[in-house]
Structure formats: structure tokens, C-alpha cells
Symmetry: C2
Subunit: 190 residues, 2 copies
């Protein structure tokens, strides 16, 4: 156990912050749940803000990796463009799902807070990925298609807080319709 403190703190922070909100969960809750002393937190991160930043960045990396894995799992350009909704469906199926971590953290954050910055970065990464996939799928206006799909992705994450049973299927159906019309505006549906 050479460096368990920082790791355990991150795990505890992610669990509590995501489940209950960044603002609601205090330092004491985090260190108690991590089984770590108060000083260790400030030694490792310096402030709560930095802990929040580390939590969001690690989560962004993990989510992005899973999205990319879902993309790689598909072969056709069209399926790859829709793969982000497969990853999202997995998250929605988890019993601990509680909406988009970034959207929720950003909602609590002042406009210049760390959560807003992390959300912006995550969003731009998603837009970049979706735009690339849309281009590869031959969309006439890949940037617009990417933004449309991101809207759906955002909305699904939010709606998932209220009903989690069938919303993923609804989202994917809507995404398919958008992609369909963007790629084959003139043809009939299969």
C-alpha cells in the first residue's frame, strides 16, 4: 500500500459526489468514507476544488474510454456514429445511475468554477469525436449532425434521472432517425 490515500480519496469522492452532489457532500464525509485523515486530503489535493477537478477528470477519461470502446465495437460507419448511445445505455442500466456527472456538477458550480471548465472540456471532446464519426459516415454537414446527437445525449442523461427503464431505447430510436435523415435525406426507410 504505497499510495492508497490519494486513490481511496478519489474513489470515495466519486462515489459520494456523484450520488449526492458536490456541494452537499462535505470534506468530512469524503475522508470518513475513504478511511483517511483530514490532513491527507489537503496534502494530496490542496483544496476541495482540486479534489472535484480530479474526480471529474478521472471520470471524463473513463467515460470517454468506454465510449471509444463502444465505437470500436461497431463496424459500419453508421453504427459507430450511434455507438455513444450504446455506452450510455450501459450507464443507464446501472442501478446507481444518477444523471450526467458533469451536468450536475456544473449546475452547482459558479460560472467560473472548476465544474464548468471540466464540463466544457468533456463536451468538446465528445463533439470532436462525433464530428469525426459523422464525417466518416459521409454526413453532408458533420458538425451539425454531431451537435444534434450531442443534444440527444445530453437530454437522455438528464431524463435518466427520472425514468431509467426504457429511455435508452427511446434515445437510440431518435438518434437513428436523425442519422437516417442526415445521411439519406431522399431515400425511404429500410
Amino acid at each position: 500500500m504505497r499510495t492508497p490515500a490519494r486513490q481511496r480519496l478519489l474513489d470515495a469522492a466519486e462515489e459520494l459526489f456523484y450520488a449526492e452532489g458536490v456541494h452537499t457532500v462535505g470534506i468530512d464525509r469524503v475522508i470518513e468514507h475513504a478511511g483517511v485523515a483530514r490532513g491527507s486530503l489537503y496534502n494530496a489535493f490542496g483544496s476541495k476544488d482540486e479534489l472535484v477537478r480530479a474526480y471529474l477528470q478521472r471520470r471524463a477519461d473513463r467515460m470517454f474510454a468506454r465510449i471509444e470502446a463502444a465505437v470500436e465495437r461497431q463496424e459500419s460507419a453508421r453504427d459507430r456514429l450511434l455507438a455513444i448511445f450504446d455506452a450510455q445505455a450501459d450507464w443507464l442500466a446501472a442501478p446507481t445511475y444518477n444523471g450526467c456527472a458533469f451536468a450536475r456538477a456544473a449546475a452547482e458550480s459558479p460560472p467560473d468554477g472548476v465544474a464548468i471548465a471540466c464540463s466544457r472540456e468533456y463536451r468538446s471532446r465528445l463533439i470532436a469525436l462525433l464530428t469525426t464519426l459523422a464525417t466518416e459516415a459521409g454526413a453532408p454537414q458533420p458538425a451539425d449532425l454531431a451537435r444534434q446527437l450531442l443534444l440527444l445525449y445530453d437530454g437522455t442523461a438528464n431524463a435518466g434521472r427520472y425514468e431509467r427503464t426504457t429511455i435508452a431505447a427511446v434515445a437510440k430510436a431518435a438518434a437513428s432517425a436523425i442519422v437516417e435523415l442526415a445521411l439519406d435525406p431522399q431515400s425511404t426507410r429500410s
Copy 2:
């Protein structure tokens, strides 16, 4: 000025809560901005939670009224179904727009908090309205279409916090595509 206190409190609460977040803004900020004594707030509302509830309910009523007005402004069933995005475009155009008040308040709220309850109610009202409009438009599965459109509505409200310039047009285009395919699955696009 027979009853200005409650009114001024609600106005101040809406302004501050929406701009900066329910949790961030304390009682002192609200009463200072309203120019009202501390006791008046507790005389009128009893607690901060009740002030939040009153704020969200009044906002829900106003937003819903404007959505319905936008619906009435349209004649064709298809345009009425899309009218909610016209109302949203108006909100997005306001310089003070800061995302969906309900989603943001809910993000700060514990699962059993008032904000979650208010959000649920607002969402169900929207779903009911959209389902009715989808039925009138002749959608084969009006409930699914309504949920798809609500996803887009949610996502647009969230994305509007980050880019407000052209997102409304992107959302309406996506909504049009969804409606198009839901109502005329076989025909070609106009």
C-alpha cells in the same frame, strides 16, 4: 403597495436562484436583493425550501404558459408539435439564459428534495402536452414521439449553458427530423 414583500421576495429569489444556483445563494442574499427584512421571508414562506418551491412553481407556470402560447400560434398539427422549440429558442436568445431552472435546481437537490419533485411535475406536464400534440398530429406512437422530443428539449436546455448562438436552430432541425420520420416513415423529405 399592499403586499409587496412576498412578491419582491419571489422576484429576487428567481433572479438569484436561477443565475447562481439554489444552494449557493443564501437567505441573506435574497432578502438583501429584495430589500426586505429577514422576518418577512419567514413570515411569508416559513422556510427556504418553501421559497424554492414557490420559485420553481411560479417559473413552471410561466414557462408552461409561454409554451402553450407558442403552440396556439401555430396552425398545422406538425408545427404545433414543434412549437415548444420555438418557445425554447426565445429563452435561449435571452442574455440571462442559464439552462433549465428545474434541471439545475434538481441537480443540487437531494433525491427527496423539493426541486426533484418540482422537476418531476414540470416534466410530466410537458410529456402530457407533447403526447396530446403528437396524437393530434397523427403519430402512430405518440408517447414515444413525445419522449423523444422531450429528450431533445432537455438536451438543448443543457447545451444552452455552453453555447447559445445557434443551438436553437440545431435543436429544431433535429426535432423536425424526428417528427418527419415519425409521421411519414415512408415518404421522401420535402
